[in-house]
Symmetry: C2
Subunit: 254 residues, 2 copies
Amino acid sequence: MTETKPLILISNDDGISAPGLRVLVEEMMTLGEVIVVAPDKPQSAMGHAITVTAPLRLKRSYIFKDVVAYECSGTPADCVKLALDKVCDRRPNIMVSGINHGPNYSINVIYSGTMSAAVEAAVDGVQAIGFSLCDYSNEADFSHTREYIRKIVSNILEQPLPYGTLLNVNFPKTDTIKGIRICRQASAKYSENFMQREDPSGNTYYWMTGKFINMEADDNDTDLWAVDNDYISIVPTKFDLTSHGVIQHLKLMF
Amino acid sequence: MTETKPLILISNDDGISAPGLRVLVEEMMTLGEVIVVAPDKPQSAMGHAITVTAPLRLKRSYIFKDVVAYECSGTPADCVKLALDKVCDRRPNIMVSGINHGPNYSINVIYSGTMSAAVEAAVDGVQAIGFSLCDYSNEADFSHTREYIRKIVSNILEQPLPYGTLLNVNFPKTDTIKGIRICRQASAKYSENFMQREDPSGNTYYWMTGKFINMEADDNDTDLWAVDNDYISIVPTKFDLTSHGVIQHLKLMF
């Protein structure tokens, strides 16, 4: 009897040529059969955007040796939808996203294309994990993430998560990792400060900048604390956004 | 002593010319001082996308009589960020989004630009409500939503929500509304089925279509049930995506 290798679907938001994606592909090839469907251009901060009013294109890519890969004209969420409907000939055992160049901890989770790709898979009932490294550089060193990624994916393949939950994994930049911490999402926000400039025609334009503000700096059970203290953070993440604790309060108001 | 009227910030994802936005502006003018910052083009299904790699434009709009309004080149979330940083000269008392042409109940909340605008305000600590009507038509009849919108916004202005929570309000298409139901987000998903076609050059393209599947059709405490049964659904919605119930389970695994 031949054992079927697990099918692992991979996407990201930095685009098919991103170094972080390549690391993830290499590591997943040690664990199963890999299919890649990734955006044909960078799609950072695309949140959970999907393309409903325009057609999507899918093009075979040969940038990974011995891997079926496609580049897609859409968003990260589009990539996963299209992969599940048109590319995969069987249900993936797991979908992994990343490795993102830059953190997706705390409130970044709602802006993250990396996480939205993973959420998309999870909504469809596929096990899913988003991986991010706290280093925006295109030359980022991912070597310290490799063994942990294998371990985390292997664990979830062995012990799948209940429907409705996926993982948001963030790696600190340091290569002296202290271990893994299971965390909650830190409460934080950006204090916006748009740069205001004039273009050569004298018209005003704005560039988004923002200062990240951790509103729970004293708490040691958050993803922000973990990564700041050289731990890998794993946050079990869900897409039921109901604030259940407020339902009773509202029932009295309406 | 003159009483300052509440400042009400309005945005949407269907764009500044959408009929649903006009209804919301008219109703909010009865409750306070209104500022509109809305996308200059439709931005449906943009999720929580933000624009970090391109400049944003803001242009004064005169389509609403006696209202300060701007159209913005960015996403709904961009509109709110820019409004709070550059347009409003004081903190809004509330931010309202919509009225969306089409439902944002259940899993639609994660794709919705309408809701992402409201979430953006809520993350920044501003009271926020997203309004949607279950009718995609540009000619949709919003008249039955007016009195309820005034009531819901007035209630929240009087009794603000705790930080971390906003409201997701969906109106049924019917004008024989039975009342308001405080609900949880129904578990549902889209069964994707991309239409596959060939363009005039013989190249394949894909159009997203999808069948909406309610996975909790028997439960009467969900937003889907409410709207299907002619109630207005209000779901208290949060942006802490932590699946708190799974943390202990994961601690045993890692």
